[in-house]
């Protein structure tokens, strides 16, 4: 009985991911039809997302340290936050269009198809141009790593990889929760920008820059500190300003898992609360 249920849930999950793949592949083919436009958009995405780092470099043209952190250290924070956010944005970024779909009535269409709604919403308008942000973050991260001269052990490599992946999952959950929130408040799509785009901006700077309350907020309320601050501070050999126990630096996978559970529940509740506009 229980085994049958597990198999059913797993089967649905696999089908959800496969369906996502089909829809995403379709959108890639469609955007590839306009190649000049695609390359332009990729370049634009790269440049727009690089602006934040340009601002940081301009700041460092005037000062040697920010909140006690040097440019390579800030670049390390920037790169990790940017890649993690970029992964989530690439895979789940279009979940922020839920409100628009509810408003114009196209959400109904998604409900009639034999594919999980989240897969359809997330794969809708899948855009490879969003690789621009990931590419840009990777370049900054690579530069930071050559400058930091860290002692590379297997543990550190694993920590870096898990940081990027778990960070991507945590940001992805934010996108899903934000999308679900729009089932209740269709016009409030902009609220989630404060957490997604605002969150990644916060993580680009060292925690010492911000007030204690803000650091507490992004540790315990919206667990963004686990995306890069806590593991990165450990890698850089810095103390964390909240003085959390050492295991917290390695807790990102567990936090990411809890986020997934919460996001799944919120999404289901949101979908259940959905009322069609009736057109």
């Amino acid at each position: 009985m229980a085994a049958g249920r597990v198999r059913k849930v797993l089967g649905r999950a696999v089908w959800g991911v496969r369906a996502y793949g089909f829809i995403a592949a379709m959108w890639i083919r469609s955007s590839w039809a306009y190649r000049a436009s695609f390359w332009m958009m990729l370049a634009a995405n790269f440049a727009t997302t690089a602006l934040d780092f340009v601002a940081i470099m301009l700041m460092f043209s005037q000062v040697d340290a920010l909140g006690g952190f040097s440019l390579p250290e800030v670049a390390f924070l920037y790169g990790t936050a940017c890649v993690a956010f970029g992964l989530a944005d690439l895979i789940l970024g279009t979940a922020e269009r839920v409100g628009r779909r509810v408003r114009d009535g196209t959400m109904d269409v998604l409900l009639t198809r034999p594919v999980p709604v989240l897969s359809q919403v997330a794969a809708d308008r899948f855009a490879l141009r969003r690789l621009g942000r990931i590419l840009q973050g990777t370049l900054v991260l690579g530069w930071a790593l050559t400058r930091l001269e860290l002692d590379w052990t297997a543990g550190r490599v694993a920590l870096l990889v898990s940081m990027l992946l778990c960070g991507g999952v945590i940001f992805g959950c934010l996108f899903v929760v934000g999308g679900a929130f729009q089932f209740w408040a269709q016009d409030a799509a902009e609220v989630q920008n404060a957490f997604t785009y605002g969150g990644t901006t916060v993580l680009q700077y060292p925690p010492t820059v911000f007030g204690k309350e803000l650091v507490r907020g992004v540790t315990f309320v919206v667990p963004l500190a686990f995306v890069n601050w806590l593991p990165a501070l450990r890698m850089l050999g810095r103390d964390d300003p909240l003085g959390l126990p050492g295991w917290a630096d390695l807790a990102a996978p567990a936090v990411a898992l809890v986020c997934c559970l919460v996001a799944g529940l919120v999404w289901r509740a949101g979908l259940r609360a959905y009322r069609s506009t009736g057109n």
């Binding site: 958009m41 634009a44 602006l51 934040d52 340009v54 005037q62 016009d187 609220v191 605002g198 700077y205």
Partner: protein, 268 residues
């Protein structure tokens, strides 16, 4: 007289149109305020390292942050407003209908955009500014005259911002896909308006050049007028804005004349 009444009516409808979406406005205010806090903390760290950076004291730098958040929507510093809409009308051919109408295309959209900006200044600008003033020590002027000059400067900022976005939108007559263009226009506006970092913090000659570009008129100048830090005084700042407004609106006319000849070729 008739023309004035018509444009006032268009502006009023622009105001009402944006005033309709209250939840969206509240969401925007929330996000502006959060970003204001984030930026304010980074600026405090920066000015802690280098007090008097760019000629600003820390409270002046913080005032700049919150002025930026207050003007973000009103002066459309991240693009948007009528730009996408006009571009879409050019793309799908509805522009032909617009050109038949016995009103001037540029004036119509300018009036509409001023109405939008008036709402967004009040609806999305005041609350973040007040929130910032309550939490941080801001260098807000006490003199009503400075505030009046600031409002005048904001008006000119919106006109310059409109004139720039109008030019971008008209490019749609030649390039049918707008996504790349609007990304580029947002990029330039974000960077050269001072939204990212005040232009007086930009190093050396790069900063001097940036301060002469039209985007400087959309945030840097109004903020400097408010702070009383405009080189040459507030009136010099207003004159700078007015010159760019006239030049860019004239350029818009010229491009519009060229484009309308093109629309006939295309057949609408």
């Amino acid at each position: 007289m008739h023309l004035l009444r018509l444009n006032l009516a268009v502006a009023a409808s622009g105001f009402r149109r944006y005033a309709t979406y209250r939840v969206a406005t509240a969401a925007g205010v929330f996000t502006n305020t959060v970003f204001g806090f984030i930026l304010a903390y980074t600026f405090i760290a920066l000015w802690h390292e280098r007090p008097q950076l760019g000629g600003y004291g820390q409270s002046q730098a913080l005032t700049f942050v919150w002025t930026g958040q207050a003007l973000l929507a009103a002066a459309a510093l991240m693009g948007g407003g009528f730009q996408d809409e006009l571009h879409e009308r050019i793309r799908n051919g509805d522009i032909a209908v617009d050109l038949y109408r016995p009103v001037d295309l540029q004036l119509w959209w300018l009036a509409h955009d001023l109405g939008r900006a008036a709402f967004q200044l009040v609806g999305r600008g005041v609350v973040p500014m007040v929130a910032g003033a309550l939490v941080f020590d801001l260098a807000l002027p006490a003199s009503p005259l400075v505030w009046a000059l600031f409002l005048l400067s904001v008006l000119l900022a919106v006109v310059v911002s409109f004139a720039v976005r109008y030019l971008w939108a008209l490019c749609g007559f030649w390039l049918l896909d707008s996504t790349g263009l609007s990304a580029l226009s947002t990029l330039l506006s974000m960077f050269f308006s001072g939204m990212l970092l005040p232009l007086n913090v930009f190093p050396g000659e790069f900063g001097d050049v940036a301060r002469q570009l039209p985007w400087a008129a959309t945030l840097q100048v109004p903020a400097d007028v408010l702070l009383g830090t405009q080189p040459g005084g507030a009136l010099a700042g207003l004159a700078f804005q007015a010159v760019w407004a006239v030049v860019l609106l004239a350029a818009g006319r010229l491009l519009q004349a060229l484009a309308t000849r093109k629309v006939v070729v295309q057949g609408g």
